[in-house]
């Protein structure tokens, strides 16, 4: 408990000072509100959008895109990664394409995907999945390849089936590296969703961001940005919780 307080106190203090510095900047520079709103403006805008339900609605949309994108991306990445780790020949065939695909920034093909898949949720989910795919794939390959051969010998000596080797050896042994990939992927997925929404969308935090921009409602832009930060932190927290739960043995 004391430890908890010791850990969170510096965070609270630093947030407090950041807001304070922000307020001072607003007062000293006397910039117009549509350029730099005061903390209080952003707060009241936040409450307003919370009360009329719009903030929850748009955050929910973005969250759904992120979660679906993560699920799809992780599923494809781990399956492909496992196959690559297991088959050198498959790796030879596929890896040039995979590496080449990384040369294309997702931002560059996002408009294409929106044209092909429409301005709804689907195109954002796909963009998210694409951006999450590579780091999770790489970590899956690395993690599965790092499973000690002695443990494979052990499993074979007691006649483990393929499925038992997967579930009782490969998954737990590669989990630390895999969760490391997920940590990167979770952060990237937020970027993926926003990139998609900024291209074209009728809903979501990216849409709110752009709407605020068009209407010189800078407080709205700030609210949307803070919500994005909160989403990214929450996802990061989920990964950390998973690590705490599954990697206790790691020290």
């Amino acid at each position: 408990m004391v430890k908890r307080i010791q850990n969170t106190l510096p965070v609270i203090l630093s947030i407090f000072f950041a807001v304070f510095a922000w307020q001072l900047t607003v007062q000293w520079t006397q910039l117009p509100r549509f350029i730099l709103p005061a903390p209080a403006d952003v707060w009241s805008r936040f409450l307003k959008s919370l009360n009329d339900g719009s903030l929850i609605y748009h955050t929910g949309i973005t969250l759904a895109e992120i979660v679906l994108g993560l699920l799809v991306g992780i599923t494809f990445a781990t399956v492909t990664g496992y196959a690559l780790a297991k088959s050198r020949s498959l790796e030879k065939v596929l890896s040039p394409y995979l590496v080449a695909s990384q040369a294309i920034p997702v931002v560059a093909i996002a408009p294409l995907l929106v044209i092909w898949l429409g301005d709804g949720i689907l195109s954002k989910v796909v963009i998210c999945a694409l951006i999450v795919f590579f780091p999770v794939l790489v970590n899956t390959v690395v993690g599965v390849r790092a499973v000690p051969t002695a443990l494979y010998d052990l499993m074979h000596s007691i006649r483990a089936t393929r499925l038992q080797i997967l579930l009782k050896l490969e998954v737990p042994a590669s989990l630390p590296v895999l969760l490391g990939g997920l940590r990167i992927g979770a952060t990237l997925s937020v970027i993926g969703a926003i990139v998609g929404e900024l291209v074209d969308a009728e809903q979501g935090l990216g849409f709110l961001l752009q709407l605020g921009d068009f209407q010189y409602d800078t407080s709205m832009v700030f609210v949307a940005v803070f919500m994005l930060i909160a989403l990214a932190l929450a996802l990061y927290g989920v990964v950390t919780l998973l690590e705490r739960k599954f990697l206790k043995w790691q020290k």
Partner: protein, 248 residues
């Protein structure tokens, strides 16, 4: 011994492919194993000891020759590795339980059996410890318990005590002798230690430097249980000298 063998190995050879025509790891290995016999293969490193155990455990297909188990087509194997090879994410008890889990034994029965094995190897109180918290000797005890829990037909040990300090190693010899006598298992162990082979085995087979061939096959007719002072007896000394000369 005149009992019928439970395992015969005939003209076993293993060649690993390499750039210049293949590396002969084992050449024309033949031997029989009697039930409940404790056999040691003694050889310098690189003589193919691990390769031999991998063939016996069906982890590696020999290039030629055959391994024939008389009673079972596919015997149950318990294997103890040079580095204990525990799963770092599993507790002591869960590591020991693994073979039963794979066989689909019910959880409560498996736990009960694991607890018995923990007592057999003297690890009471460490059931929930993780491998990272164990000393080398304790880790090998877990390895031995895991290798015995599913009541294997053949126990294979690959230099299990090589990485332990001398005192711990000798204590583990006593432990292993005791366990072997309690469990009545057929054991094949490989080692590069003459003392270890003479303390433990009924029979020692000496493997030559690459390619591994059997150079000597001697009975160790020392009384059991063998205590530390057995090494000062003339018989022990004579056998040790004989083995020493065979290794070259």
């Amino acid at each position: 011994m005149t009992t019928n063998p439970i395992l015969t190995v005939q003209d076993l050879s293993v060649v690993f492919p390499d750039s210049n025509g293949g590396l002969n790891a084992l050449e024309n290995i033949s031997f029989d194993v009697s039930p409940r016999e404790f056999i040691c293969f003694l050889g310098p490193s690189g003589s193919g000891k691990t390769t031999l155990l991998r063939v016996l455990a069906n982890l590696l297909r020999p290039t030629s020759g055959r391994v024939h188990f008389i009673r079972h087509h596919r015997p149950r194997i318990g294997m103890v590795f040079q580095q204990a090879s525990l799963m770092p994410w599993r507790s002591v008890l869960d590591n020991i339980k693994l073979p039963l889990e794979l066989e689909g034994v019910g959880e409560s029965k498996a736990r009960k059996k694991s607890q018995e094995m923990i007592e057999l190897v003297g690890l009471q109180g460490f059931e929930d410890s993780l491998p990272r918290d164990l000393s080398g000797g304790m880790a090998q005890r877990v390895g031995i318990a895991r290798a015995l829990i599913h009541d294997p037909d053949l126990l294979l040990l690959d230099e299990p005590f090589a990485s332990l300090d001398a005192l711990t190693r000798e204590r583990m010899w006593m432990e292993l002798s005791r366990i072997w006598q309690a469990k009545q298992k057929t054991v094949i162990m490989v080692t590069h230690s003459i003392n270890e082979s003479l303390f433990l085995a009924d029979r020692v087979l000496v493997l030559t430097q690459r390619p591994g061939q059997i150079k000597l096959d001697v009975e160790v007719a020392l009384p059991r249980p063998r205590k530390d002072d057995i090494r000062y007896t003339p018989h022990f000394g004579k056998l040790a000298r004989k083995l020493r000369e065979a290794i070259g």
